[in-house]
Symmetry: C2
Subunit: 304 residues, 2 copies
């Protein structure tokens, strides 16, 4: 599986537009070793010619331009054959609305996430202007689905697994919460027996998750927050990390302890602008590295 | 009036993600003198400390980062006090959904454009999470409204004028077309008697428009297409420029003829990736310059 990290930050990116915290300031003025990062997304391919996006972030237009493999070769035909959605948060799906221009695309996701996007959203009508513009393929939990290019197998499959998470805030009260709200997406290349896990939003441990992480070759994992009360230290009254659907990395019950025990390559994505792990000379960054865990950056290429 | 051009391209930007036309290819590989451009937006200010966005494009996050005047100075307080919307197309308003992070903002627009965004869009709920997060101020056609910062006058006013245009495609059939669907926004700094017109979408001539252009000091004007059938030459079956709500620049009845006769500074914005005026050594670019008209680029600063 060929992987291109298109974006590695949580919603809002790094720096965040309205934030002048120590990390955002240090990133802007170069006084801290913090790389700018756009919002989390990756592209995957078996053959290097046809690609699938993991999430469509609000930054998708810039992200495509920065990644030559995703540029159209001729006419109006993009090498992007489809988009996979693991949750319905705006930072995961808003970019779908930037992928119009009459380009047919297939979106693979759960029924709950699809309905959260399409139902009760007049904006989504811009993607339903002709038959076959956006085709929604429903992922059943635990059942592999072949990712296709013009109806032919692409060499990749995807299997969605429910993980602890939360409903997108903007949908609370409009549709019932569902197991399909927050997914780990398992991308497999059966011909080579290789597996990638995409899990940028995980609220806490689960046995399904542990099994997935044990048997995969590489995991792109939720690195949103270091501490549970991290956001409240910047913005008074902000909710805890877990209440926002993210398992903090640090501490004795943090996700780094699980990741440290895994055999696979482990790379943090969806990292919030408040997370000290972004500062490359911080104690938190050193601890992450000591545990064998990597921090994704925009433009990182991974071959699995 | 201080003006920063944040983006100068039409919807999709230059290059456009799924397009490999001559201009997009030439921009990507450097074989043509074509600058990359993000989607049309500008920031305006009287005092250089508090700013208002003209449109919130899907590229707003990157645009803010590229414009130091728009960076927060401390804490979580942005110098952006509000957003003005001249139409409800996705390339004009989608960026509002990237301006969340609990930042209070005032949006100035017509009732029709406000309702097109808020009603029947569950995404918009993310901007209504607490009282005062997004405040909508309705612009009555022809009546000046004071732009405020924390309730105090900012030194700027805005007046909206209906111009020939069209409803956003995604709203057709969901709410009746209205005079308020397409606006020219007239930004005035009364203390200095200076006026800017923002009119990135104009379908054709009108007497209101001619009067506005005659009396302003600077116009940021619709430069979307050169020819009426421009898009159909790239994408078979594409609609004419006028059907998409844009008055072509070229030809005996093109908008350049009107602009050429104006005393004010005239700068084209919202330029589509198909428009040959983007190619800085093209005949069309030379003709535009000969008529005294300029082409905006991202990062252009204008003092009026």
């Amino acid at each position: 599986v060929q992987v291109r990290i298109l974006g590695s930050a949580a919603g809002g990116g790094v720096p965040q537009w309205n934030c002048a915290c120590r990390i955002c300031r240090g990133c802007r003025d170069g006084s801290l070793p913090v790389r700018p990062r756009s919002q989390a997304s990756a592209a995957v391919s078996a053959d290097g010619r046809h690609w699938f996006l993991l999430h469509a972030s609000p930054d998708v237009r810039e992200q495509i331009e920065r990644c030559p493999a995703l540029h159209p070769v001729s006419g109006r035909r993009s090498p992007i054959a489809g988009v996979l959605l693991g949750n319905g948060d705006l930072d995961a799906c808003l970019g779908l609305l930037s992928l119009r221009e009459s380009q047919p695309l297939t979106v693979y996701t759960s029924a709950a996430i699809a309905s959260g996007f399409v139902e009760g959203n007049r904006f989504a009508r811009t993607l339903a202007r002709f038959d076959g513009q956006l085709r929604w393929r429903t992922l059943e939990l635990g059942a592999p689905t072949v990712l296709t290019v013009d109806g032919e197998p692409s060499g990749l499959t995807v299997t969605a697994f429910a993980v602890p998470g939360k409903q997108p805030l903007h949908l609370v009260g409009t549709q019932p919460p569902s197991d399909g709200d927050t997914l780990a997406l398992c991308i497999e290349e059966p011909a080579r027996g290789r597996t990638l896990v995409w899990a940028p939003s995980v609220r806490g441990p689960s046995s399904t998750l542990s099994e997935l992480l044990q048997r995969c070759d590489c995991a792109l994992f939720d690195g949103t927050f270091w501490r549970d009360d991290e956001l409240g230290r910047i913005a008074a009254g902000a909710p805890l990390a877990r209440a926002m659907g993210h398992w903090p990395l640090g501490g004795p019950d943090g996700s780094l302890q699980l990741l440290a025990a895994m055999p696979a390559r482990r790379i943090l994505v969806h990292v919030n602008n408040t997370n000290p792990v972004l500062v490359e000379d911080s104690a938190e960054h050193a601890l992450m590295r000591a545990l064998g865990v990597e921090l994704a950056h925009d433009g990182l290429e991974v071959q699995i």
